[in-house]
Each structure stands twice: as C-alpha cells, then as structure tokens.
Amino acid sequence: MADVGKTPVARNEKASSEFGYVGIDAILEQMRRKAMKQGFEFNIMVVGQSGLGKSTLTNTLFKSKVSRRSVMTTEEERIPKTIEIKSISHVIEEKGVRMKLTVIDTPGFGDQINNENCWQPIMKFINAQYEQYLQEEINIDRKKRISDSRVHCCIYFIPPTGHCLRPIDIEFMRHLSKVVNIVPVISKADTLTLEERDFFKQKIREDLRANEIDIYPQKEFDEDAEDRMINEKIRAMIPFAVVGSDQEYQVNGKRLLGRKTRWGTVEVENTTHCEFAYLRDLLIRTHMQNIKDITSSIYYEMYRVRRLNENNTKPNGQPAIHANGVPEHEVLSHEM
C-alpha cells in the first residue's frame, strides 16, 4: 500500500522532543543484543592427506589450539588404516562474542594405497549431520534452539605439486561440492615461487571448470550485483595458497607468526608472502554468515527434499540411491 519514506534522523537523539523519529532502526541493536546473548556455532571440516599442515592451519586460523592433534597428546601418532572422522568442539570468545567452534578432522584420507571411494565416509558423515538436524526439525515437540552440527565449510588441502589436480582431488571435490561448501587451499605454499603458484592456480581453476566443480563462493548463489562483484574478486584468487604456523618470531621489531628457515622467515599474515590472511578474512571476518546460510538454506534443503521424496520407492525394483548419496551395497569385510 502507501509507500512512506521518512527523513533519517541520527540515532543518538532519542529524547521525546525529537519529531519524526519512530525508532524502527532500533531493531538492529535488538538483533545484535540477541546474537551476542545466543552466541554462534561454526563447524569446519579439514580434509587432506597427512602432513599437509591441516592441524597447524586450523590453529593458525583460530589463533588457539583447536585442532585434534593439539588436544590429543596421549594417543600415538599413527596413520589410521581407514578413514576416521573425529570432531572436537571448543568455545572461543572475542569482544563478548561467543562461538562454539567444531573442527572435524579426517585422518586417513588419501593415505591408503587404494583410495577408491575415500570420499564416501565423509559424504556419509555430512549427510548424517543433515539427517540429525532434520530429525530434530520434524519432531512434534521441538527444542527451542536446535543445535547445529551441520558441516558449514570443508577445507580441502591440495598438496603443492605445482602441476595440476590429482584424480583423488577431482574425485573428492566433484562428489562433495554437491553437499557442502568446499574451500580448496594450496597447502604448504612456501615451497612454490610466485610464478609457480600462479601457474598452479590457473591449472587448478581450469581443472575445476572442466569437471564442473562448483567451489565456494558458488556463482549461482550470488544474491545481487554487489555480491557478485565481491565474489568475482574472490573467485579470481582461489584457491588460496596458504602457510600455517603457530610459532612467533621477531621480524623488524614485531612479533609475527611465521616459519623460520635459513633463507628467511615466511610471515603467515603478510599477504605478499602467502594468502593466509585472505583465507581467514573470507572464512571468518566477512563470509562466515554467508557460508552458514548457504549450508542451511541450500544444501540442507536439498538433502531434505531428497530425503522426503525417498519413501516414494521406485516401482521397477531398482535399488534406491539413499539420500546420503551412496548407493546401497553390501558392507565389505574390510570396512567392518
């Protein structure tokens, strides 16, 4: 009906002598208050072969010992015989904002001799989280706030070979990009020169395009022109070439996170050295909410649609593809 525009008035003047100010914009402050009180949840999964610096990078991202390795000091360091999925939660706080951070590790990925279908347990896990959320959501008696264990973001570690993506990389990302936000990173990037890095990135982007793999930020989810502009800049830079470190060194009078070698110190947060800062900004400072939104309103909804349509069994007796994306098959002995 009537479109009523009003003159914007500075928020500070709240006295009743003020004329024309209703106070609708106070809702922003109310929302902020509510968000601070409730806190946030973020679930991040790291996938990659052993030795690519997953734990270190996670610790560097969140500036604290949040990775599984840092927590478990008593267990032997061994490469498991099968892929395991291990999840650790921490509560971190910054300037009054509380966050429950869950880091999901996947030791054993890509470490076997035969890595066929290594993506399957991970896919099953991700779908299991969607399933858990769905179950809570369809309850008659629902909790006031459903705890969100859905994987918001999966960081995939590409070894710094400098050539192109390996079949295991393509296979993994092709399957998983359909159910979760994938953020591929070039790990241990301090072994590549800038030229090698640029060439590698270009090759990776070509490979992704050729295999129709949609990584975060996905083109089709850009909301408007402004969004697209920001995201295009990011898409031109990914995958980020990162270096992780939880050691501080003295550089030019400042204490900085870095890796010290005989020929110099790689500064982690220096964007001329590596792109860690861009990754951190993307994941945490600017796009975290967007990552969560895409998970809940797109990937989760897709799972839900598949799951709710699942009970319509096929009449020709073909084995149904379960909503968890894995075709039915007999559990093989080596998986038990």
Binding site: M1, V4, P8, V9, S16, S17, Y21, V22, G23, I24, D25, A26, I27, L28, Q30, M31, R32, R33, K34, A35, G39, F40, E41, F62, K63, S64, I85, K86, S87, S89, H90, V91, I92, E94, K95, G96, V97, M99, K100, T102, K124, F125, A128, Q135, N139, I140, R145, S147, S149, D281, I284, R285, Q289, N290, D293, E301, N309, N311, V331, E335
Partner: protein, 443 residues
C-alpha cells in the same frame, strides 16, 4: 572426551564420532580455549545484522478493540504517518479483520509493517462469537507458515511472514473495570499471541481514577488467568527498563496526528478548551512508554516469542490433531513420513472417490440426455412419416383429380372433334342441300 555412536539406521562401522553433546547455552562441556590474537569472528553479529538489513524486516500488529477507541489514530501516531485515507466502513455484520501492509524506512532499515484492525468488534448485540473471527485469523497465519514449513520444496528464508507478532488490546476508558467481552477475548487470545493491553483515549480519565483503573484491570487479568506479554528481563542490558515498564501496564495512551504549538515547538496533541494533552509528554500519558517497549526495545523479542512459543504451540497441537506423534526412536525416521503418506493416500482416496462420483453423475446425465434426445428424434421421425403420408395422400388425390380432369378433357376433345366433324359434315350437307334447293327454285 566422550564417544558415541549415532542412532539406529545410520551406524557406520568405519568412523568414530567424538561429539560434545552438551548444549552451548549451558556453557559447559565444550572446552573454552584462550585466543592468542585477534581472529575476527567478533564481526559475526555485524554479518548477521547486515544480512537482515538486506533482507528487510517485517512486523505484524493486530489491534483489537471496540469501534471508536482510536485504533487507527494510535497506529498513525506510533509510526508517525497517515495510514488510511478515510475511516473504515462499519456496515458489515460480525467482526471483520482488515489488514493493511505498509513499507516504512528509517535510515537503512526497511520495515514491512502489517496492521490488522478488527472492524465491528463489540458492535453486535450478541457478542458471544466476537472473538472467533480473531482467533481464526491468527490461526490462519500460523497455518500458512506451517504449510510452507511442511512443503517438500520450500522457501522459508524468503517467506513473507504474516504471523501476528503483537496484539494491542484496546480497553475502553470506563474507569471501572474490564468488560466481560474483554476478559473472554483476551483469555482466548493469550495462548496464541503476545497481548499488550492498553487503555485507549485515556485523556478521558483523571490521574487518580487512572491509577485505580490500572490496579483493577491488572488484578482482574490475574484472577482470570490471562497471560499478557511480559517484557523480557533476562538480558541485563534491558532488564531494568523492561521490569519497570511491566509495572506500568496497561499503558494509558492518547493518540493524535494533529500538531499544536506549545512554547516554540510543534507537538502532537489534543486541544481542549481547558488545556492540551500532549501525546509525547510522559506526565500526560504512557504513549512514549508504549512506543519505547513495542518498537525500540522489544520488537525483536516479540517476533521471537511469536515464533518459538505461540507458533510452536500451534504446530504441536495441529500435528497431534492430524495424527502425528513422536514415537520411540526406532520408528522416528518414519513416523512423520508414514503418517504423512497415510494421510496423503487417504486424501487421494477421497479425491478419487469424489472424482468417481462426479464421473457417475456425468454418465447418468449423459444417458438421460441421450434418452431425451432419442425420444425427440423418434417423435420427429414419426412426424415426418405422418407428413410424408399426408403428402402422398394429397398427391394421390390430386393425381386422381388430374386424371379425372384429363379424362374429361380427353372426352371433351373427342366430343369436340366429333362435334366439329359433324358440324363440318352438316355444313357440307347443308351447303349441298342449299344448292339443291336453289336449283329447284330455279326450275
């Protein structure tokens, strides 16, 4: 650390899940770790707020009250604008709910405000059913949301929420007590919507009477078990102001869109010969308190309570009514599915039955019509046959006549010919006889 395996049908032999089950709100379980530097997730509230700003907000207010209590004027005053062009027509029987949506903007906040008015509330002679259309309306909004939520392909994040977030109940300024209509209506609504009772046109009551009136109203609400909306006191930032305001309920308000010059300022007021009631003067009325509570402090809480309390209650009741239930964990994944399927099959069955009935009726009608047409056809044929016979008879008759005529004509012709011949003969004879006669005379 605790290890647990996921429930029932989703057991995967090849992974171990270490999951902290304890809820985040309780603050225990998930270990707290210190940060050694600035990470940057303190921007999360901003990210969340920015997303909401881009999306826009919506707020739905329901105004319940008798005709003439100044509902429309109060809305105009609250939102500092002129909503309706002319006053609503009050010529319908029963209570109608009239809904209007407005788009307001203040700095970068866009608000879709929906104001629903009860037209004709309290006008009836028999008011027993007055509350019904209000309850139905509120339920209808919940139902629409529920339908969307239950859809397979749904778009909840872009759904235009029409659920009522706040119900302003206008109490007539009698100065004595609540009317029974008020009590009955509020009792029916208190489990469905956040009720904020207000005393309308409160410039009709003196200050001392007002205090007594408020006490009476509050005690009547309590003794009748009416749950009105309490401004939340769990957040320290606003706990104090909210709890003070809770004590001022019901708010005694005055609405006005007319401006009067007081001193050197223009203020909204109502001018009487004996003085001017200023809307925004807290000594004169509680308008500022209402605006503060409804819009500036608790708008978000009102929306949240609507969703997490009132809507959930509606949903629970509705689903239980439809036959769903949360059964034991084994059948949990399927209970909703199965019942949903069963209901759907039932519905489809009914639909089919109806379709069948309609088809039968159609066939029947067609048969009847066919019969009628056949009858008509038969009649026509008969008629045709009759006519044909008639014509044939006529024709025969005419032919006979014609034949007779022809015969007559022929015989006449014959006679004529005979007569002519005779005449000719006679003439000849006559002429020869005349000659003879002439000859004889000559002798």
């Amino acid at each position: 650390q605790c290890s647990s395996e996921l429930m029932g049908p989703l057991l995967f032999p090849s992974y171990i899940l270490y999951l902290d089950k304890i809820q985040f709100e309780e603050g225990e379980g998930a270990r707290a770790v210190p940060l050694s530097g600035h990470v940057g997730f303190d921007s999360m509230p901003d990210q969340l707020v920015n997303k909401s700003v881009n999306h826009g907000f919506c707020f739905n207010i329901l105004c319940v009250g008798e005709t003439g209590l100044g509902k429309s004027t109060l809305m105009d005053t609250l939102f500092n604008t002129k909503f309706e062009g002319e006053p609503t027509q009050h010529n319908q029987p029963g209570v109608q709910l009239k809904s209007n949506t407005y788009e307001l903007q203040e700095s970068n906040v866009r608000l879709k405000l929906n104001v629903v008015n009860t037209v004709g509330f309290g006008d009836q002679i028999n008011k027993e059913d007055s509350y019904k259309s209000i309850v139905e309306f509120i339920d209808a909004q919940f139902e629409a949301y529920l339908q969307e939520e239950l859809k397979i392909k749904r778009t909840l994040h872009s759904y235009h929420d029409t659920r009522i977030h706040a119900c302003l109940y206008f109490i007539a300024p009698t100065g004595h007590s609540l009317k029974s209509l008020d009590l009955v209506t509020m009792k029916k609504l208190d489990s469905k919507v956040n009720i904020i009772p207000i005393i309308a046109k409160s410039d009709a009551i003196s200050k001392s009477e007002l205090a007594k009136f408020k006490i009476k109203i509050t005690s009547e609400l309590v003794s009748n078990g009416v749950q009105i909306y309490q401004f939340p006191t769990d957040d320290e930032t606003v706990a104090e102001i909210n709890s003070t305001m809770n004590g001022h309920l019901p708010f005694a308000v005055v609405g006005s869109t007319e401006e009067v010059k007081i001193g050197n300022k223009m203020v909204r007021a109502r001018q009487y010969p004996w003085g001017t009631v200023q809307v925004e003067n807290e000594n004169h009325c509680d308008f500022v308190k209402l605006r503060e509570m409804l819009i500036r402090v608790n708008m978000e809480d009102l929306r949240e309570q609507t969703h997490t309390r009132h809507y959930e209650l509606y949903r629970r009741c509705k689903l239980e009514e439809m036959g769903f239930k949360d059964t034991d964990p084994d059948s949990k994944p399927f209970s909703l599915q199965e019942t949903y399927e069963a209901k759907r099959n039932e519905f489809m069955g009914e639909l089919q039955k109806k379709e069948e009935e309609m088809r039968q009726m159609f066939v029947q009608r067609v048969k009847e019509k066919e019969g009628e047409l056949k009858e008509a056809e038969k009649e026509l044929h008969e008629k045709f046959d009759r006519l044909k016979k008639l014509h044939q008879d006529e024709k025969k008759k005419l032919e006979d006549k014609k034949k007779a005529l022809d015969d007559e004509l022929n015989s006449f012709k014959q006679k004529k010919t005979a007569a002519e011949l005779l005449q000719a003969q006679t003439q000849q004879a006559g002429s020869s006889s005349t000659l003879k006669k002439d000859k004889e005379r000559k002798k």
